[in-house]
């Protein structure tokens, strides 16, 4: 039984990490173009570094 409080805290921390990551990805503009992201995966390797350069910085 004494382990339960630890487990609760650990599960909360994991959840909080998820929340922080979501808020970060939101701020980072990762949801701006969901359809485009799905297509860009298929592009040739050479274009990948250039695409990263071209990503809008905010």
């Amino acid at each position: 039984m004494s382990i339960v409080p630890y487990l609760v805290i650990i599960s909360l921390c994991l959840g909080a990490v998820g929340l922080v990551v979501f808020l970060w990805s939101l701020k980072n503009g990762q949801y701006e173009d969901l359809d485009g992201a799905a297509e860009r995966v298929l592009f040739d390797d050479e274009s990948a570094p250039e695409d990263r350069r071209a990503a809008p910085r905010r």
Partner: protein
């Protein structure tokens, strides 16, 4: 690329004005490219634009079908639109500043994320409590839940608390008041229970309520009208500075506002006339389509009256102002628009109407059950629990989702068909319409002349005319230039080509003197047919001559927009009246009306007349959808119950319209109307679902049977049912279809303007 002006080339001139400053060295331009459909388009467009000189980077957004281009400010604006036209994509400039990050939206989404996190975690703990945790574990879990719920309420709940506080301060009530009271009461009661070691706590209910409500609120915000007024686009049409000709013949640059009647203003070819006036010197063709809706350009010489906003096509003109800026046609239009926008009846959205009726009901029932239990049992604790349960059960989660969820799905469906809507209310307004008013030029027709008698024309004459036409920006020349064959250029016109404004083009070569233009000018008097033979009022034509001898006659007309016939048929089948209003002459209007089988039409209307006509219809009890494109339609677009404009419309028209369709096809009109009806049906079903659900659960709550578990289940199920029902709008949409369409659906705009 031969570098001669085309429609796309002219559009590129607007890039500088439509760009925003990023930093000292960069400017940003946003383009809307409706025909982006797949990864291949992304690749092609980014390759083409990134290769341009001065472009720092171009990035395609497939979801919004837009391209964001950053270009170096110290260079000339890159020819983005022409480059896109060359690779087969029609593009429109987006207004700068439309993309400013939406603070409210990001606040809502963050609040939503926090509420979602809290709901999930409290739910985990609550499930173990419901499954029968022993007293010690239950109290511990309740305590942890309280610790999670408190910051979540403070952070996510403030959106509702703020609005509720504002309403109460003004002595009103809105839906946020019962929500805030319910959430706070549920939290306070649960806190009390936790300290007392009680069995039931409503932490998950209070946070889940916020979560569901925030989903609805966020979707609703997405569908709210962005504060954007159509009028602001009007002023941008004419340059703010003009070239004034002084008495001594010198030109000075002056701000437009300083122009007074009697002053002479120089209007270069390709510029818009800045003020109303009379031509004092020069000869040119003037495109009046924006102002009057007339399809064919008119020649303008000394004495011709011109109005602000007309486009000077071929030669420089000196115009003597007859009115100051404030008194000229455009300023008049601005006032007309402002009046129309202000005069439009305020539309009360379905959701707002429902809320007004619902909020007092919720208060009343909760208060009544509290008092009832106090009287019946005399137990304050028990009565509070019941009142909280009533507030939670009647919470309008599903109701809050009912409308925005459907509208978001509908907006997505419309967007897939290339139709953009300004806000959710547009869909509601669209449902009611019983009459459609169409503009002619640029709406029912394409607004650009197309060669009609191509079969009858000898290929070598066509090639010759195309080569000549490529040297001019006159619409008829441009239509001919589309036939230019770049591989084997027409031989004889390699020589000198001059443009005679108001008349046509002349090329002198070893083979003789070639002229392309008006019959009266291009042909010798002897070769000229009897007067009137070329003056068929329904069509426009131009002739090609060699040394005064007739070589060929080119006849043009303004073709119907694709789908116009189908659109008219589909609307009629719905029992919707169709009216045709045009600023054009009676002849072409009558012919078009006959073509499409329209009984009600009016020609030669001024913008003011169109507004008056719409007001007349409204007074007769009609709900009117106005479809139009030009500047001359803008006041009418603003005055109608709901309005629609093609993507090629003038900025003003696009901003004034509630819906903009980006493709060429006019089928967009009946499609939008049909979809609005389906959306309306789903919204009504959703209301019914939500009300039945709440109504069924309410007696249990009042009688005190609702445990936290029941509340959580009821809330989730009703919300899920409403969302699932809204998604039915997607049935048969076939999102995959856009890939199949990539190949054959080349934008017609690009086809016409490709050199």
């Amino acid at each position: 690329m031969s570098g001669h002006p085309t429609a796309a080339g002219l559009a590129d001139k607007g890039i500088l004005q439509a760009s925003s400053v990023v930093d000292d060295s960069l400017r940003q331009t946003d383009l809307s490219v409706p025909s982006i459909r797949c990864g291949g388009c992304i690749w092609k467009i980014e390759q083409a634009l990134n290769a341009l000189d001065g472009v720092e980077r171009a990035r395609v957004n497939l979801s919004t079908k837009r391209v964001c281009v950053l270009w170096r400010a110290d260079r000339e604006a890159p020819p983005l639109i022409r480059t896109l036209a060359d690779v087969g994509y029609a593009a429109h400039l987006e207004e700068p500043g439309n993309d400013t990050p939406d603070r409210t939206l990001s606040e809502l989404i963050r609040a939503l994320a926090v509420a979602g996190f809290a709901t999930g975690n409290i739910m985990l703990l609550s499930v173990s409590v419901w499954s029968g945790a022993d007293a010690a574990a239950r109290d511990l879990f309740h305590g942890v839940s309280a610790l999670i719920a408190l910051p979540a309420l403070v952070y996510s709940g403030r959106i509702f608390f703020r609005s509720a506080a504002r309403a109460i301060r003004h002595g009103r009530t809105n839906m946020d008041v019962p929500i805030s009271i319910g959430v706070l009461l549920a939290f306070g009661l649960s806190l009390f229970e936790t300290f007392e070691g009680g069995e039931q706590a409503y932490f998950e209910a209070s946070v889940m309520l916020l979560f569901f409500l925030l989903i609805g609120r966020t979707l609703d915000h997405l569908m709210r009208e962005k504060a954007r007024r159509a009028v602001s686009g009007l002023a941008k049409l004419v340059p703010r500075v003009v070239q004034v000709v002084r008495a001594d013949g010198h030109h000075v640059t002056r701000p437009l506002s300083s122009v007074e009647p009697g002053m002479s203003v120089l209007v270069a070819a390709g510029e818009r006339v800045p003020v109303d006036g009379r031509v004092a010197a020069g000869l040119s063709d003037v495109d009046r389509s924006l102002v009057t809706g007339e399809s064919a350009p008119q020649s303008a010489g000394v004495g011709s009256v011109v109005q602000a906003g007309m486009l000077n096509l071929t030669g420089p003109l000196t115009v003597t102002a007859t009115a100051a800026e404030a008194g000229s046609f455009l300023a008049d239009m601005v006032r007309l628009m402002e009046r129309a926008e202000a005069g439009r009846p305020v539309y009360r959205r379905v959701a707002d109407r429902a809320t007004r009726f619902y909020a007092p009901l919720v208060h009343g029932v909760a208060l009544a059950s509290f008092v009832g239990w106090m009287v019946a049992a005399g137990d304050l604790h028990q009565a509070t629990v019941v009142a909280v349960a009533v507030l939670i059960i009647t919470c309008p989660c599903a109701l809050g989702l009912a409308v925005p969820m459907v509208q978001v799905v509908a907006a997505r469906r419309l967007f897939e068909r290339g139709i953009m809507i300004k806000d959710g209310a547009v869909l509601e307004r669209l449902t009611d319409i019983d009459a459609v008013v169409f503009d002619k030029t640029g709406t029912l027709t394409m607004g650009a002349p197309v060669l009609r008698n191509r079969q009858a024309i000898a290929p070598e004459n066509l090639a010759l005319a195309a080569a000549l036409g490529a040297q001019s920006r006159h619409p008829l020349s441009r239509a001919l230039a589309a036939f230019e064959d770049k591989e084997s250029p027409a031989m004889p016109v390699s020589g000198h080509v001059t443009e005679h404004p108001g008349c046509g083009l002349e090329a002198l070569s070893d083979h003789g003197r070639f002229r392309l233009g008006r019959a009266a000018w291009a042909l010798d008097a002897a070769a000229r047919p009897t007067p009137g033979a070329f003056e068929d009022s329904d069509q426009t034509e131009t002739v090609l001559s060699k040394d005064g001898e007739l070589l060929e006659v080119f006849r043009f007309d303004d073709p119907l927009r694709p789908g116009a016939r189908e659109a008219v048929g589909a609307l009629k089948a719905r029992g919707i009246e169709i009216h045709l209003l045009s600023g054009d002459r009676a002849g072409p209007v009558r012919r078009l009306a006959g073509d499409l089988g329209l009984d009600v039409f009016e020609a030669a209307l001024r913008p003011r007349d169109k507004v008056a006509y719409l007001e007349g219809l409204a007074e007769a009890g009609h709900k009117v959808l106005m479809v139009g494109d030009g500047l001359n339609d803008a006041p009418a677009l603003a005055a109608a119950q709901v309005s629609m404009a093609p993507g090629t419309a003038a900025d003003v028209g696009r901003n004034a319209a509630g819906l903009v369709f980006l493709g060429d096809g006019l089928e967009a009109v009946p499609f939008a109307v049909a979809l609005s009806h389906r959306a309306d049906r789903l919204i009504r079903q959703n209301f019914l679902l939500a009300i039945v659900y709440n109504g069924a659960a309410l007696p249990f709550a009042v009688l005190g049977f609702v445990t936290p578990l029941v509340a959580a289940v009821a809330m989730s199920l009703s919300s899920i049912a409403v969302v699932a029902n809204a998604l039915r709008l997607n049935a048969g949409s076939g999102r995959r279809r856009r890939h199949e369409g990539t190949k054959q659906r080349r934008p017609a705009f690009a086809l016409e303007t490709t050199e």
